[in-house]
Symmetry: C2
Subunit: 99 residues, 2 copies
């Protein structure tokens, strides 16, 4: 067992760490809210969302709010589990404690 | 201020997180020890060491142990400061506590 092998490469990017953190904390979030909270470009955010979706870690909900289409994102059970394991590995490597 | 802007892109890679953690904890370490602890290839480790060196975050000591040349690495003051700021940003984002 090496010091870093439990760190999930899927969460290396700080944009992905941010997406997972925001969605875990807020339950769900739409594209523009995520974009504002993370301060990233549309293209950058979209590509990381797509990657996390392909891994099965987040999922998309499409609905109408009034007549306006709205897309929001939330963390799947698999995503929650993987993210939590990643945080545990980070905590252990960096000697941090979960609150 | 966004959720992730204090995360240092220099430490996104888990190999770099690992290098900084090992060197911070051990004071200094040679190439093979780092390689063993992180479980990465020579080329991968060398390229991340080089990048951290170019950023001024780690430095190289070359010496002889008997007749054998030995290269070891340690964290610079700038590296210690940047890594500590990164850990603080991570802790805050992920709601972790420094021990």
């Amino acid at each position: 067992m090496t010091a870093i092998e439990n760190l999930d490469k899927a969460f290396e990017s700080r944009v992905r760490l941010g997406i997972m953190s925001v969605l875990t904390a807020s339950g769900q979030s739409d594209f523009n809210t995520l974009k504002g909270m993370l301060g990233v470009s549309d293209g950058n955010l979209a590509s990381h969302i797509r990657a996390l979706e392909e891994l099965g870690y987040i999922e998309t909900q499409k609905q109408f709010i009034g007549r306006k289409p709205n897309t929001s994102y939330s963390v799947t059970d698999a995503g929650r589990k993987a993210f939590s394991a990643h945080i545990e590995a980070l905590s252990s490597l960096l000697n941090l404690k979960q609150q």
